[in-house]
Amino acid sequence: MDIDDILADVSREGEPQESRDLQELTRAWVAERVAPEILPYPDALMDRVLERIRRQIELVEEQTGNMDPKTNFRLIVIQTELERFKFLVRSFLRARIAKIDKHPLHILQTASTHLSTSESHYITAHQALLSTHYHSSFLSQFPAALQRLDDTAGGISMVDTPDTDAAVFCRALRDVGVISVEGTERAFEMKRGDCWVVRWNAVRERVLAGEVELI
């Protein structure tokens, strides 16, 4: 830890929790939209944000009853901000659902801890629905050996997986040291503030640790 990090930490603590949450939510939203794999669900952050949205909605509802909306400028600002927050959360959740729908079996097998409780309910229920649908449509008349949906025989896995070699844009939030790209000779040093285009699997761990952010 050098002087920059200490300064960063100090200036960070000066900020109120609310603005830090917004920053975190935006970061999570961008990362979720960019990363090829599903990322861990930010439980605590979402709880705080949702709680705050609920409070703001209550506040708006209380205040609209007794005042003329055209003159109540403060309320308009609150509502606009509220809409923006709702958009962030909605877009974030939809990005996750899109990934869940795209690679359900892969996520169930490898990353089920990254889901929130309701997302796990959704994925299991959805997967059950899909397989009943396949079964009642045609699969039930197949020979028993061919009825599985997660067959790996013959060298080809039926389970579709996300492309972890996909390139992502990222920025280092602090000095992270040398990153070597698997399967190639390339290795480079990543310093705080650096921006790189790099394979997702090379920076995956760093992103999860919060040392690198996706942009």
């Binding site: 959740l93 729908d101 629905l129 649908h133 449509s137 045609f138 061919l146």
Partner: protein, 221 residues
Amino acid sequence: MYGELGNKLVQHAKRTQSLAHLPPYQAEIVRSVTREVRDLDKDVSAILEPFAGSFDPSAEPATACALLVNHLCMRRNKRCLLAYHRVRSDKLEEMCWSGIDVLERQQQQQQQQRSGRNGGESGTSLGAEIGNTSSLSPEEEEYVRQYSDLLAAYKGQWTDIDLTGSLEPPRDLFIDVRVLKDAGEIQTEYGSITLTKNSQFYVRQGDVERLIAQGYLQRLS
């Protein structure tokens, strides 16, 4: 034979991806492909029967090759069927998310066709033909029904957010809208508004988003 029909299904699926609506379910082809798989499977067991479980591929390369071809065809057919059904169910899910009531639309279509046919006084094999006009298979209808329930359950946990809302970043809190179809009275936080055709309003976007998506209102820029 040997995957030809499966290929047709894949072509149908490919075409479906670029269509706005869902073309009729190819029940006949699906049945034929399934039958093909069963026939191939029977062939395989027939070939294997004389060996009574002690088949050695290296001793009989010709038979092994026949088995391999049959086996690969079955797997291929399975993939084609899965792909076809997945494309269609994806499409149905998309409709559920965007708030289109697929089943209601199906019923409307059928009713229109029924009334059209009654008007034309040609009601001989009515029942059978109406059965064909639905572009969903019975299994798909069931799937849509259950998926809507699932979606509603998931959405219900995020009542404040409205998950199926617009994915465009919001710019203005209030927008101008024109009413395209009579939508009756809606309740907003600023009181109720009666939406009659051709009138214009300056309303909160969040209150009318649903109606815009359903085509009752048009947003004026």
